[in-house]
Symmetry: C2
Subunit: 195 residues, 2 copies
DNA sequence: CGACTCCTATGACCGCCGTCATAGGATGGC
DNA sequence: GCCATCCTATGACGGCGGTCATAGGAGTCG
């Protein structure tokens, strides 16, 4: 994950811990330890305190998810909406089967924990969802989905994925994820066919 | 909400606070205060501590969601899968437009906050999802959805709803919810038509 | 009246957390 | 050598949280 400076490591570690334990249960000391960064660097790099760190972690996650889209497309021999969604789902089923159900989506965690209490974090989460929805919608457009539906379908895909993630984690079973992919594929592919 | 004994009020209050602030940010003292119950009653009724209280709140939420399904069906002149989903979504859009985006789903909150740290709560969340999926699946069966698809479609509906809830809260906009309803309805209704 | 059970009340303990304050290196330019 | 800047290090503080311990009503039944 590109061993950059301690600052980036801390943001990355924060995202990892948040997606596992939630925002409130993730301590600053814990982030520093996980990043193998000095505790004193926290207040140096993040004078805005935990709020700033969390917001940057959320933003990082949004960018990461958005960037993944291009990689998924590259992996598909023939890009289809259903194929893209299947890849998005597969990223998670792979992780869960390989490493267990330890973590969910950090943006979801931040939303659940901070939506009501911390305005700036809620806004960061909204921005992260936007940074994710945008590339997905553009990809759908490239596949022939009419412009007026690209954003709606992208939102649907991400909604379904996020919800299935929750259920999969609760059940410790990828069932909800594979079901989501299977059931949604026909609808998505139908939207790409010119009518 | 049926002014029952203090015990039930505390469970109900816990669910309300959890869905607003998450599990970790909800204090026991806060629950007692919200329920207008004496603090000492907490350890009396919930000797298992916070874990027990949270688990009961999650279970309560699951039962509540499951029971709602019958009410939604009763409200529909002609029951259809899409109509049921629209009602499920409408419950949330109504709340958000009436009372603001203060709360999400308590089961989602518990999953995000406790899935990795507290096994019993994760199991309670899985049970809550099951208590919700069951009635939905049975309703779909009654509408003519083939048995082998009822559970899958019910899971899809709840996945999509949960994810859209997250996005709606982050954006403070019901857009994701209405989109989910609109885009999923054709797929759901198609499954009810005998082929 | 006494005893017993159920519930309430309150204060104390200990641990964790975010933050602040302060000082100690390190590095690079001059 | 010296200074400025950037980063690191560490201890302390105040607050809050869950839990425990202990005791105080409040009925009820014998």
């Amino acid at each position: 994950m590109s061993e950059r400076g301690p600052r980036e490591r801390m943001v990355f570690s924060a995202a990892q811990l948040i997606r596992r334990d939630g925002v409130a249960s993730t301590g600053m000391r814990e982030v520093a330890a996980h990043a193998e960064a000095p505790r004193g660097s926290l207040q140096h790099y993040f004078p805005g305190g935990k709020e700033q760190l969390v917001n940057e972690a959320v933003a990082w996650a949004g960018r990461y998810a958005g960037n993944r889209v291009a990689r998924f497309l590259a992996a598909l021999p023939e890009p289809t909406p259903g194929g893209l969604f299947a890849e998005m789902v597969r990223q998670w089923t792979d992780e869960y089967e390989r490493a267990g159900f330890g973590g969910g989506c950090p943006v979801a965690a931040a939303t659940v924990d901070c939506a009501e209490s911390t305005t700036s974090t809620r806004e960061a989460a909204a921005a992260a969802f936007a940074a994710w929805t945008g590339p997905v919608a553009r990809a759908l457009a490239d596949m022939g989905v009419p412009e007026e539906r690209t954003t709606d379908l992208a939102t649907l895909m991400i909604s379904t994925l996020e919800g299935a993630l929750l259920i999969a984690r609760a059940e410790q079973d990828v069932r909800a994820l594979t079901t989501a992919s299977r059931e949604l594929t026909p609808l998505l592919d139908a939207a790409a066919r010119p009518r």
